[in-house]
């Protein structure tokens, strides 16, 4: 079975994330790291390959050229190949442009199963997979916390606002996994050394069907609205009374 995992290289949280005032987009000029959420998808793909004793795991991403370095971590974890769609024309891509680029790359791969993480770590997006699945005309299961992979279908257990569901989809399918699904492995030293020899391919926008126009715009940035004044009480034995008074005053009791 061939499994493709879509990942994103995001500005390192440890370094801090900021928005570039001139482009009004996230500043991606610094160090990029593999999104933590995506490492769960990579782990799930590797476990599936190991359980089957055969198959291929290819990692697919869209981003700046430097994202290739962040993707090497997935190769160190055990993925077989990496494909990066990178092009100046894709800078500032919105959901639709990103989905098209990934769908174009995935069509070239023809994987049986496409995995995503549960959200992007920087843009808080949690729906890209559904756009990609729509473009590929494949079924999608999101928020999966337990995945069973059969020869012709996958079944995902997931949690929604209302309870648990089990959803089955025939292959080829797209699945987004939650970070509760597994504990991602750390790359071994051997894995890190071996990663350098693994193939990393780069595709241009033209290779995946063109860049297209973003359909959303960023107009302005502002600091968040301030909350009202905050009150502090040290418990002197009457804290509960103080809380009740406060709730009554705010009309929430």
């Amino acid at each position: 079975m061939k499994i493709a995992v879509c990942v994103k290289a995001v500005p390192d949280a440890a370094v801090g994330r900021r928005i570039d005032e001139s482009s009004r987009r996230l500043d991606r000029s610094g160090e990029l790291a593999l999104s933590d959420f995506d490492s769960h998808a990579v782990e799930e793909a590797l476990r599936a390959k190991e359980a089957a004793g055969e198959g291929e795991v290819v990692v697919v991403s869209m981003g700046p050229q430097r994202a290739a370095d962040a993707m090497r971590k997935t190769l160190a974890m055990g993925a077989d190949r990496a494909v990066l769609v990178t092009d100046d024309a894709l800078a500032g891509a919105d959901l639709l442009v990103t989905a098209r680029a990934l769908a174009g790359a995935l069509e070239r791969e023809g994987a049986d199963l496409v995995l995503f993480g549960q959200q992007s770590a920087d843009g808080d997006g949690a729906c890209l997979w559904a756009a990609v699945a729509e473009l590929l005309r494949r079924p999608v299961i999101s928020q999966v916390s337990e995945l069973q992979i059969g020869p012709a279908a996958v079944t995902g257990k997931r949690q929604t606002e209302f309870g648990y569901e089990r959803v089955r989809a025939p292959l080829p399918a797209v699945v987004a996994v939650s970070d509760a699904i597994n504990e991602p492995r750390y790359p071994s030293l051997k894995g890190i050394m071996g990663a350098k020899a693994k193939p990393q391919e780069t595709l241009s926008a033209a290779d995946v069907g063109g860049a297209g126009e973003s359909r959303t715009v960023v107009l302005a940035l502002a600091p968040p609205p301030a909350r009202g004044e905050s009150r502090r009480v040290e418990d002197d034995g009457n804290a509960a009374e103080a809380i009740v008074e406060f709730l009554a005053e705010k009309r929430v009791l």
């Binding site: 309870g163 089990r166 959803v167 973003s214 968040p224």
Partner: protein
Amino acid sequence: MKSLVFLEHHEGAVTKAALGVLAKARALGDAAGVVAGAGVRAAAEPVGGVVFVADDERLAAPLPAPRVDVLAKLVREEGFDAVLFAQSVLASDVAAALAARLEAGLNWDLVDLAEHDGALVAKRPALADSVWVDVGWSSPVALAVFRSGTFDPASVDDASELREVEVEIEASSLLAELVEATSDEGEGGPSIEEADVIVAGGRGLGGPENFALVEELASALGGAVAATRAVVDAGWYPYSTQVGQTGKTVSPKLYVAVGISGAIQHKVGMQGSGVIVAINKDPHAPIFEYADLGVVGDLHEIVPRLTELVRTRK
């Protein structure tokens, strides 16, 4: 603006979050709702105003693809400028697939929407809510997903004007199937997305057995129980109650944080709440920076007393 609002429903009723988005859409212009499911006329009736009803057995399972077919057809036939959603697992998947189908721009995680000189502008908190971004659309149809609970539903006097939708679903939209669904309502209280009051417990409770304190206060206030990531990871409470970056985003009228330090990952999930009360023994806990009332003290003493006082008042 002529907009269509996706009205998600559960157990025979449209969710409060979706009704809130509909109220906002109607404040901005001409807005209709759409309910898609099997046997959903009764859910659509009390909504008020124009509501399209897509009633079909193939829409029985809460899966996105067949709903995308329904919405895409409605947008094309009725000429809507915008399709609005209240954020949920289902709504997010429907919105993103619809964006791809209609080649429409999608902005998500929104907390406000306005019309300036005929163009829609929405507000989106970003980077752990440290900055608010004004976003817009350059496509003929604008798709928008709002944080659950951002808007209050409007009161409704008249029954809906129901409009039957002729349901056409593509074969490729029926590939995924629901095998099993189990409700997670637990003690029968409201789900945390729908609740007006939330009492949340964190690691400061000391152990899973102390969640009883939180449950009793929630019950006295008529609210729901939520938990932090740390507590869910430790297995003290189910993931369905988790508030924060990797859990749910909530905005009740009252949020009581018990034994929660208030890391940024938690803050992003609840800072839209109306009134925030925090009880924590550590005076330096970050949650005190954004609580409206911060109480420094021992939760084991304060919470039972508070529960008792609330019960007496009611």
